[in-house]
């Protein structure tokens, strides 16, 4: 495997803090061009924050992130915006503009950036909507869409400018089984057909393992496991196995740290 050079995104020694709270404590990630890489971890580990760091919306406290050879934190605002035109991001909520129709949402980045004549914008929008199977929904407003449809519209919008990569923030959370299946297929297909590089951030183990080429597992600011889905299922680390197989108790305890149960029930001071 000599494709070590072909990383679209490289994260080196990344540290990040919110105030005094350490979210990342020196993590290294390589995201290969053309692959689907998943970043998994329990809620609150900082997965969304990681995507924001890659997109340059927040700056690392230490370490470096490079995207397509550019170190994100060093770019000027203008360069950053140029880079972002080549990155699509699918937010957890879809983040559709609520005052614009489905069509106008997908047209939004094209109208803002491409300077194409309206007739061509229309053709492109219809093509993107067709790709996610929602050409028929073009006149609906975001409030009229189901959660799964909203995410597909957001996906159509994310690919409107033909980016080199797409970042998905929890694409499967809260989806019914059918939308889930649709999204899994879409993400995989788009990655192949458009030659994208995909980054999926998720805690839905089964769906993510089904489409990811490589998985990083994060916990408490560190990479605790990495490998292909198969490798992770048989990982040595008990913690990774607990996470991948979704067991309620294990190295990650079921209970939030608390005082002794019996003592607390019996103590008088705790009562009001």
């Amino acid at each position: 495997m000599s494709n070590k050079k072909d990383n679209l995104v490289e994260v080196r020694g990344l540290t990040f803090k919110f105030g005094s709270r350490i979210i990342f404590d020196g993590i290294d990630l390589d995201l290969q061009r053309g692959k689907v890489t998943a970043i998994m971890g329990p809620s609150g580990t900082g997965k969304t924050t990681l995507l924001r760091l890659i997109g340059g919306q927040v700056r690392p406290s230490g370490g470096a992130i490079s995207v397509d050879g550019h170190e994100v934190a060093r770019l000027t605002r203008r360069e950053l915006f140029e880079l972002r035109k080549r990155m699509g991001m699918l937010f957890q909520s879809g983040a559709l503009l609520t005052d614009l129709s489905v069509f106008d949402n997908v047209a939004f980045p094209l109208r803002e950036h491409s300077g194409l004549p309206e007739a061509m914008v229309r053709d492109l929008v219809l093509m993107k909507l067709e790709a996610v199977g929602l050409r028929g929904a073009q006149r609906l407003m975001p409030s009229e869409l189901s959660g799964g449809m909203a995410r597909r519209v957001a996906l159509a919008r994310a690919i409107a400018l033909d980016p080199m990569m797409i970042m998905y923030d929890e694409p499967f959370t809260g989806q019914d089984p059918i939308s889930m299946g649709v999204l899994v297929k879409l993400i995989r297909d788009l990655n192949e057909v458009l030659g994208l590089t995909s980054i999926i951030v998720s805690h839905d183990v089964a769906e993510t393992a089904a489409i990811a080429d490589y998985i990083y597992v994060l916990s408490q600011g560190k990479v605790v496991g990495e490998g292909t889905p198969d490798e992770l299922h048989h990982a040595n680390s008990e913690w990774v196995r607990q996470f991948m197989q979704g067991m309620p108790d294990g190295p990650v305890p079921f209970h939030y740290p608390a005082a002794d149960y019996a003592q607390e029930l019996l103590s008088r001071e705790g009562r009001r």
């Binding site: 997109g55 919306q57 972002r84 035109k85 991001m89 950036h113």
Partner: protein, 259 residues
């Protein structure tokens, strides 16, 4: 934390916020010239911010004018000066009540709506989404709303004053029988364009800037949760109203002080 630590903490937080608010205003102002090429965005916001505030401004202006007519009459008639009612109504409105009451209503109607809208856009990641699409929300979303607010406020205040004068007329002339000719001619003679009307306009421009600024900043700076947005909306109305009343005193002292 000790009391002093907390005090210092709050003070620092307040100053940080003030700094952010100033940076915010500056960045928005930088984005304003670009709007010349995107007039459609501005027109949409003029509608949302200005036109939709019209009803409350007109209704309130009418009632305030009528009350001024009644109260002014009862006071003036004791001195046999009820013919000056027109002047009194017009000056009160143009100098003070027009700009101030219109700004208070504007803060409640348009300001709270702006804060809630921007706050919700932040909560639902629409602003982040725009940034990731390489679109600057300060230019695309905030700047048009800011300009719309600043342009609407003096117009709304003028409409408020005009309708208020009509209200004063209805109460004074139609209901209480003040001489119509005196009502209008004294008003025409004594209301000065520079002294009174322009000063009122300046006030309402200042109020427009301040109210819109507070409303947009509170929305943009809101904690992105439903609770955060509702708090921000409340803060907008409280801060904007207090700012209007405080600034009115300062401006009045500056404008009408020496003469």
């Amino acid at each position: 934390m000790s009391f002093f630590q907390q005090l210092g903490h709050h003070a620092l937080a307040a100053f940080q916020r003030l700094g952010r608010a100033n940076l915010f205003l500056w960045t928005v102002l930088v984005g304003v010239p670009g709007l010349l090429f995107r007039l459609r965005l501005l027109i949409q916001q003029l509608f949302a911010v200005g036109v939709l505030s019209l009803v409350i401004i007109v209704v309130a202006g009418l009632f305030v004018g009528m009350v001024l007519g009644l109260q002014g009459y009862y006071t003036l008639v004791d001195f046999g000066a009820e013919e000056s009612l027109g002047v009194m109504v017009a000056l009160s409105l143009v100098r003070e009540l027009g700009p101030v009451v219109a700004a208070l209503l504007f803060a409640g109607r348009a300001g709270s709506a702006l804060t809630a809208e921007i706050g919700l856009m932040k909560t639902t990641e629409q602003l982040s989404g725009m940034e990731m699409m390489a679109v600057d929300p300060l230019k695309r979303v905030i700047a048009p709303r800011f300009v719309a607010g600043v342009l609407s406020m003096p117009l709304l205040a003028a409409i408020f004053s005009a309708v208020g004068v009509m209200g004063g007329y209805v109460a004074g002339v139609t209901l209480l029988g003040v001489d119509e000719g005196a009502f209008w001619s004294q008003m025409q003679g004594r209301v000065d364009f520079h002294e009174d009307i322009m000063n009122g306009v300046i006030k309402s421009v200042v109020f427009g800037v301040v109210v819109t600024w507070i409303a947009l900043f509170e929305g943009y700076d809101a904690v992105p949760t439903s609770e955060g947005v509702s708090r921000a909306t409340t803060r907008t109305v409280v801060y904007a109203s207090l700012a209007v009343l405080g600034l009115d005193f300062v401006l009045t002292a500056l404008m009408f002080g020496e003469v």
